[in-house]
């Protein structure tokens, strides 16, 4: 078989133009499959780590998915709020290391406003337990200070000191603006690729302050409390939307979850963010499967090209194969020669695309991570990818059997003298 290897290489080199084009098609197809697989994995990881380091998310009792949607992604609304006392009681549990209250309900030009405490900036983690970082300014100090996410800053072109007004609700109804109490952008967060980027963070007290002269979701007619006097009021919130909990020991998480479920004063629900996010991913996983399906289709097109090129080359190689036969090559050598060639092209295509995808991940990974909330793109080959590569080779082998079999039949029929 060794002399055949040399002949296969030289023969392939002799047809380098057509084979090169086939190689290009295979490389692109495998690249699509590999990058699809890697981006899928990174997207899944990034999604699952939209919030990390938080052991439990607590909200009013309802569906766990709904809780994750509004608490993490600010999608949809809570059915009920939580009493401040309930929050305080649970935050005081000896198992709890830290807690971050969250209040939702207002927005700024389509971006959700999150009322919270400075503990948020201290304890909130995303991705691989990365803390939030400021690119400019500071966390809120004054009552009407706002800290905005990276996307808010970029999309709205905000800089430090910008005066912004919040709208009540999602901001779609006119006349429900808190125009009398403008906020000042005090800090801008670094991009995280998570929902944090879309949030406008203000203090719980500020949320309380802008709603002093409101009742039942609308301004109270005839009552207006100017911004400079609100600090004379009690700005302790009465209710919040949800809160995040960090525990001293992760092992206590299920016991605390049960205690929260059994909380006597009001019906509450605590979810493990990782589990809930995974569930959520399952529901959007159809898209991911469709993407993978399209990638395989493109790969099938690449393989069809390979088979077409091999079949087309058979007529010009018929004499070459007959000469090899006369020198002593058997039909099985001819079979081997053709399979070897397509496997070689496939191997080269796989190696090329691995190299290209990895260098692309290496060069563009950080940018992608920031832009699309992907976790860092993997550089190494994962077990899932190995299975994918095995599938690619199996498919290539299967496809190459066809032209190889035809060459085998031809060489049997031609014998030593090709009848052209």
């Amino acid at each position: 078989m060794k002399p055949l290897l040399l002949i296969a290489l030289k023969s392939a080199w002799n047809r380098r133009l057509t084979l090169g084009l086939t190689l290009l098609a295979i490389t692109l197809a495998v690249m699509l499959l590999l990058s699809g697989e890697r981006i899928r994995q990174a997207a899944r990881d990034g999604f699952a780590q939209s919030v990390s380091g938080t052991d439990l998310i607590v909200g009013a009792r309802g569906s766990p998915l709904q809780l994750v949607l509004y608490a993490v992604f600010q999608v949809g609304e809570a059915s009920h709020n939580i009493d401040w006392q309930s929050y305080q009681a649970i935050a005081a549990d000896p198992a709890v290391a830290w807690s971050v209250p969250l209040t939702l309900g207002d927005s700024h030009r389509g971006f959700p406003v999150l009322g919270t405490t400075p503990a948020y900036f201290e304890h909130y983690r995303y991705g691989d337990r990365q803390p939030l970082r400021l690119t400019a300014g500071q966390h809120f100090n004054g009552l009407f200070d706002a800290v905005i996410g990276a996307e808010v800053a970029v999309k709205l072109g905000y800089r430090l000191g910008e005066r912004i007004t919040l709208s009540h609700g999602s901001g779609q109804l006119p006349g429900l603006a808190h125009a009398d109490k403008p906020f000042t952008v005090a800090g801008i967060l670094a991009p995280t690729g998570t929902p944090v980027d879309r949030r406008v963070h203000v203090s719980l007290a500020a949320i309380e302050a802008i709603h002093l002269d409101w009742q039942g979701g609308a301004p109270i007619t005839g009552v207006s409390i100017p911004a400079d006097v609100v600090s004379k009021f009690d700005l302790q919130p009465k209710t919040i939307t949800a809160f995040l909990l960090g525990l001293h020991q992760r092992s206590a998480v299920f016991r605390l979850q049960r205690r929260i479920a059994d909380f006597h004063a009001e019906p509450l629900l605590a979810v493990l963010p990782g589990v809930a996010l995974d569930q959520l991913w399952q529901t959007v996983g159809v898209v991911e499967k469709a993407l993978l399906g399209i990638s395989w289709l493109v790969f099938a097109v690449g393989l069809a090209g390979l088979a077409a090129v091999m079949l087309a080359s058979l007529s010009e190689r018929r004499r070459e194969l007959a000469v090899l036969r006369s020198i002593g090559a058997g039909p099985r050598h001819i079979l081997f020669l053709l399979i070897l060639e397509s496997l070689l092209v496939t191997l080269l295509g796989v190696l090329l695309s691995l190299g290209l995808v990895s260098s692309a991940a290496w060069l563009g990974g950080p940018w992608l991570a920031a832009q699309f909330g992907l976790s860092t793109l993997p550089l190494a080959v994962s077990p899932g990818e190995l299975r994918l590569l095995a599938g690619i080779f199996a498919a290539a082998l299967l496809v190459s059997l066809w032209p190889a079999w035809r060459a085998y039949r031809l060489s049997l029929a031609d014998g030593l003298i090709p009848r052209l």
């Binding site: 060794k2 002399p3 030289k10 023969s11 070459e320 006369s326 020198i327 090559a329 003298i417």
Partner: protein
């Protein structure tokens, strides 16, 4: 030297059982080191006979024995190996692998057959010697075979067929693509190199004028 190089007995071959026999040959023998001139009109089964001697086809009746060994008793892969070890072929044209150099083309049989590689102590030197004997310009050795003229290609093919001194050399109209003046020269060179290698020669041609150069001649009927 007792065993004949080629012994054919009661040979009959047809492509399909429904067809008429396209080749019938009662008896033919080529002794070791001797040469046979084989002629006959088109369709007389010359190519079929060469495929039968090459062990690529098997006869329906009768037998082909090479060096005393009946091909019919060998497995297909054994026949392939036997062909590599003991036979050299030259065809009408397109003998060479176009993308290999002249030298690599000549050395091919030594790569496929350990026996033929063993029989020459220095394959590259032997290839040079053969090519020089066949009157080929040594400057062409490193050239890709595709760049050679037809006449040069036939001489390279002859050198390849003869390297490693195979017992049997089969030439299928190797001169038909050459002009008349060079045909005789080629046949003489081929036969003299075959004599040196000790190879028996089967030479197929339409051109009866060449028959005089051979030890015996055989006509195939249409």
């Amino acid at each position: 030297m007792s065993l004949p190089a080629i012994a054919i007995a009661n040979l009959a071959f047809r492509w399909r059982p429904a067809d008429a026999f396209c080749l019938k040959l009662a008896n033919a023998t080529v002794d070791a080191g001797k040469s046979l001139f084989l002629h006959g009109p088109s369709g007389s089964g010359k190519s079929t006979l060469l495929n039968l001697i090459g062990g690529v086809l098997l006869p329906e009746r009768g037998s082909v024995s090479l060096l005393g060994q009946p091909l019919g008793e060998m497995s297909a892969s054994r026949r392939d190996a036997f062909r590599a070890d003991h036979l050299g072929f030259i065809f009408q044209q397109f003998n060479l692998i176009p993308y290999l150099s002249v030298l690599d083309n000549v050395l091919l049989p030594c790569r496929f057959s350990a026996r033929r590689a063993r029989r020459v102590s220095e394959p590259a030197a032997e290839a040079r010697r053969l090519l020089a004997g066949l009157d080929l310009d040594p400057g062409l050795l490193a050239r890709p075979a595709a760049e050679l003229s037809v006449g040069q290609q036939q001489r390279v093919a002859a050198a390849r067929a003869l390297i490693g001194r195979p017992e049997i050399l089969i030439a299928d109209e190797p001169t038909s693509a050459l002009d008349a003046g060079r045909q005789v020269a080629f046949v003489e060179l081929l036969l003299s190199e075959a004599r040196q290698a000790g190879s028996a020669v089967v030479f197929v041609s339409h051109d009866l004028r060449l028959a005089a150069h051979f030890d015996q001649s055989l006509a195939l009927a249409a």
